[in-house]
């Protein structure tokens, strides 16, 4: 598997590509301005230093009206060029802003709700039939080439949704709903993380976007809409009993079981996800065990409490969770 893409300068869709185009305009104009201004300043300074070394200090009150007029004209000309350049940049910026808004009119957009939480992302694919809606965490799956309309809000503090290769940021603010529209044209995995400081584990609040061909995405979504897989064997069945009999159920939901907590990530298809704790660890059985027993050593400050389980119970629980594909 290739590493996920994460760079403002490596766009994978029209939004980020528009911004890179604008970036190039600003960057090259800035470089030109920098070179020009520094050159003028350097020439003036070197000339003035040489004169001072050759002739010593002059009379500070001496004036030369003709040369002053030339200089004022030069400054005025530079000022006019500045105004013109800024106007051009303003027009370029507003045109790019319009281009970014173009996706908003796409009636066929896929609608996804993203809720920021300390310190993970809740992702909901809604459906007219509530029983058909799918909830997952920290991994946003989207079809390639289709506009996706993200409805953003927060359950606690302000977060910011940012996947650099796709689009700029949009804040998730409690009590408000923000919207952003994205489209990804190249299949692949794109990384990002929360961009608004949101407390202790702001650094470990990663989000990944998986852009898949439409049929792959459709299959994925259909699977996510199903309830959780039944335990495969007796060990896993005992694991389900451990889960529902432990504090886990206070925060986590598993569709098709009695577990209906809403504070932590939905675990219905937890084993299908690539990472644990919003990108903090790869989702392996060993990491999962460590995370359950002592979340604070992985992600200090995380709201998940440590759960002490007898070894046999832990193994049963892991066997069950591993089956939640």
């Amino acid at each position: 598997m290739t590493a996920p893409r994460v760079s403002v300068l490596d766009p994978a869709g029209p939004q980020a590509a528009t911004i890179v185009g604008l970036w190039d305009v600003f960057l090259w104009i800035s470089i030109a301005v920098f070179v020009l201004v520094v050159a003028c300043f350097a020439v003036a300074t070197i000339r003035a230093v040489r004169e001072q070394r050759r002739d010593g200090d002059g009379d500070p009150l001496a004036t030369d009206p003709a040369s002053d007029r030339r200089m004022i004209r030069g400054v005025a000309a530079a000022g006019i060029v500045t105004v013109g350049t800024l106007l051009a940049l303003l027009v370029a910026s507003i045109r790019s802003g319009r281009a970014l808004a173009a996706l908003e009119d796409d009636a066929g957009a896929l609608h996804v709700r993203v809720t920021g939480r300390q310190w993970w992302w809740q992702i909901e694919y809604e459906h007219d039939d509530p029983g058909q809606s799918a909830t997952t965490a920290n991994e946003l799956h989207v079809p390639v080439g289709r506009t996706v309309h993200l409805e953003l809000t927060s359950a606690d503090v302000i977060h910011s949704f940012w996947v650099p290769s796709i689009h700029g940021k949009k804040d998730l603010i409690p009590g408000r709903i923000n919207r952003t529209w994205i489209r990804i044209d190249e299949p692949g995995e794109y990384a990002g993380q929360c961009a608004e400081f949101c407390g202790l584990e702001h650094a470990r609040m990663a989000i990944a976007i998986h852009a898949d061909p439409p049929d792959v995405f459709a299959a994925w979504l259909a699977h996510q809409r199903e309830p959780a897989a039944s335990p495969r064997d007796a060990e896993a069945a005992r694991g389900l009993a451990v889960f529902t009999g432990s504090p886990c159920v206070l925060c986590h939901a598993i569709a098709g079981t009695t577990a209906g907590g809403r504070l932590g990530p939905d675990l219905t298809h937890a084993a299908s996800r690539g990472t644990l704790a919003a990108g903090a660890l790869p989702n392996t059985i060993g990491n999962l065990a460590g995370w359950i027993l002592d979340p604070q050593s992985v992600k200090p400050g995380a709201h998940m409490p440590a759960t002490s389980l007898a070894p046999a119970d832990l193994h049963a629980l892991l066997a069950y969770l591993e089956g939640l594909r």
Partner: protein
């Protein structure tokens, strides 16, 4: 009143009377009760540099933590307190106070007067600032350091998520420092408008005085916004109001509007005095008059006006309407024009002059190059689409340090080398100065230039660590090495200052052959600043002053008295008597401290502290006992 007379009249030498009237008594009471603007200014500058060093230590800890992926020098809890205290210290306890401190010290000298208009208010402002600063740092050292960022966004900083007293410490530190800033601003505005030397009409004021005046007016308009919002935050936290609580009809975005309505002008409050330093240094070191004085003044005023219309560019990602955002893009680009014009005028000034590359001038060169880059990245982030990508990333960390260190600290260090002889009477070492300038310049760019790339590579701000897979490790290591070099450069200047203070070459009144009135008196100036109060007939009084320049006569020498001049033309108007050494400001500041600090524990602190403040103010405004001769006159 006849103020100016010819010098040939052979004025009596009133030095002894002046010294008696203006010098503070020896001992602790004299020290604590000193209201001399030079003493208060020195204290502001020294305290602010103390906080600068402390904030710099925090910066180094952060750079060491981020030098490589997954380092565990500090954990997230400590890291959050550190970056919050770093930002708060640098903005509220260093940058604004140090600029105001230079204003307090220099403005009366540049205006040719003997003190600020309200000396007791001046002392009060300093003590309040000191209490607020110590309070913040005691918080950090007792694990009660604020941890929601120097911008303190709610709800993270609010009662629900900002638990404990940490953000209360922040909110009240803000109230302290803003109160102090307002006290200085009012003082400097009135001093500048009413106590200029006769003849120093507005169009003859030195550029630094203009910058200070404009900045002070900005303080008066900006600080109330943050005092309001920090007060709202404190009451949300302490007495359960719901200004920012979305669940109860409050609004978290209200905080952001109020905070940035203050905090963007704050950048110019820091930066405009620095531009004043640059103009002050350029004239003597290019040995010529400033090209386009009027344009420089207008540019300063224009920057101040536009600076109040750009705050929303900190909030482009919050989902505000697009049309409104375009307005703020335009305003943010507009502010480039006055700043650009100033830079072009400085180039013209250098072009016309003959430049000596002494250390202050070298810092101006470093400023010019560095600030230009910060200004250009500022143009980039004025654009909504670009800002949406780089907002809250290390690109912004780079940009703001280019503007604040490049744009303000470099000129400030230049100002230190320039005015150190005036403050202490001794010269800083030139070789150490040049070396420190080179180290600071190289270290700075090594630290902050790579951060532009880190931001584009997706590294957000305020993260306490990152994974190796991100690929951010190498550039972070470069930045950390740069920070160490930068730290060495600052340390070298510190050592230079300590050594020169004791053993530096004697400076004399005017070591740079500079142009301002402050160079016409001895170094350091006597308690009464000028034996003969000067008059002024152009912008460069120390260069032009003819030997028969009139001086002011008729201001009492045996009492602390100031000459009051008219607002525009600075024609002599009347005299005013000032308070001398008094402990009332210290008492009032302590009462203020009890009120603010106590109020984070109990609302009762407000009425009790209020009563204490009233008592202090009664002492403060108690009429002074009549002078002996007045008593004699009144006797039958």
């Amino acid at each position: 009143m006849s103020a100016a007379v010819e010098r040939e009249l052979e004025l009596p030498d009133l030095t002894a009377e002046l010294a008696c009237a203006w010098t503070r008594p020896r001992g602790l009471r004299g020290w604590l009760g000193d209201v001399d603007h030079k003493a208060i200014g020195r204290r502001y500058i020294a305290t602010a540099f103390g906080f600068f060093l402390l904030g710099g230590v925090l910066a180094l800890i952060m750079r060491l933590q981020l030098a490589a992926p997954n380092r565990e020098l500090v954990g997230p809890d400590r890291y959050d307190q550190i970056f919050t205290t770093h930002g708060s210290t640098m903005m509220f306890l260093f940058a604004v106070p140090v600029m105001q401190g230079f204003g307090v010290y220099l403005v009366p000298l540049m205006l040719g007067t003997r003190n600020v208009a309200f000396p007791r208010l001046n002392a009060y402002g300093y003590w309040v600032y000191l209490i607020g600063g110590v309070f913040l740092w005691v918080g950090l050292l007792t694990d009660t350091g604020p941890d929601a960022g120097w911008f303190a966004y709610v709800p993270l900083a609010g009662p629900e998520y900002g638990t404990g007293k940490r953000m209360d410490v922040w909110a009240q530190m803000i109230t302290f420092t803003e109160l102090s800033a307002l006290a200085v601003a009012v003082n400097l505005i009135v001093t500048t408008l009413k106590h200029r030397a006769p003849g120093m009409a507005l169009h003859r004021m030195p550029m630094f005085v203009w910058a200070t005046l404009v900045t002070s007016v900005m303080v008066v308009f900006a600080m109330p916004a943050v005092m309001l919002s920090s007060g709202q935050l404190a009451s949300d936290r302490l007495i359960a109001t719901h200004f920012f609580n979305a669940a109860e009809g409050g609004d978290p975005l209200l905080w952001q509007h109020l905070f940035w309505y203050f905090a963007h002008p704050e950048v110019y409050i820091i930066f405009l005095p620095a531009l004043g330093f640059v103009s002050s240094i350029l004239a003597p070191f290019a040995r010529t008059q400033l090209v386009g004085y009027t344009a420089l003044v207008l540019a300063t005023v224009a920057t101040a006006f536009i600076g109040f219309g750009v705050w929303v560019h900190h909030m482009f990602a919050t989902g505000l309407p697009q049309l409104g955002q375009s307005f703020f893009t335009a305003a943010s680009l507009l502010i480039v024009i006055p700043t650009g014009v100033q830079m072009f005028l400085w180039i013209a000034t250098v072009w016309r002059g003959r430049v000596r590359l002494a250390t202050p001038m070298l810092y101006v060169v470093a400023f010019f190059v560095t600030f230009l880059i910060g200004g250009l990245t500022g143009v980039m982030i004025a654009s909504v689409p670009l800002d949406l990508q780089v907002h809250d990333t290390f690109f912004i960390v780079a940009h703001l340090h280019y503007v604040l260190i490049g744009g303000a600290v470099f000129p400030l260090l230049g100002a230190v080398y320039y005015w150190f002889p005036k403050l202490t009477g001794r010269m800083l070492d030139e070789r150490a100065g040049k070396l420190s300038c080179a180290l600071v310049f190289a270290g700075f760019h090594l630290t902050f230039f790579p951060m532009h790339q880190l931001g584009l590579d997706g590294m957000p701000r305020r993260v306490y660590t990152y994974d190796e897979a991100t690929g951010w490790g190498p550039l972070n290591l470069v930045a950390t090495v740069g920070a160490v070099v930068l730290g060495l450069g600052v340390a070298l200047t510190l050592v230079n200052a300590v050594v020169a203070w004791r053993r530096g070459a004697i400076a004399g009144p005017d070591p740079w052959r500079a142009d301002g009135l402050e160079w016409t008196t001895s170094s350091p100036p006597p308690a009464y600043n000028f034996r003969d109060l000067p008059t002024v007939c152009d912008r460069y009084p120390a260069w032009t002053s003819p030997p028969d320049q009139p001086v002011v006569y008729g201001v009492r020498a045996d009492r602390p008295e100031l000459l009051v001049t008219t607002l525009v033309d600075a024609a002599p108007d009347h005299r005013t008597e000032l308070a001398n050494v008094t402990l009332a400001p210290l008492g009032a500041a302590l009462a203020t401290g009890v009120t603010f600090i106590g109020s984070i524990f109990t609302p009762w602190a407000v009425p009790i502290g209020g009563a204490l403040i009233v008592i202090a103010l009664v002492v403060w405004f108690w009429p002074r006992p009549p002078y002996r001769e007045e008593r004699l006159e009144a006797a039958p």
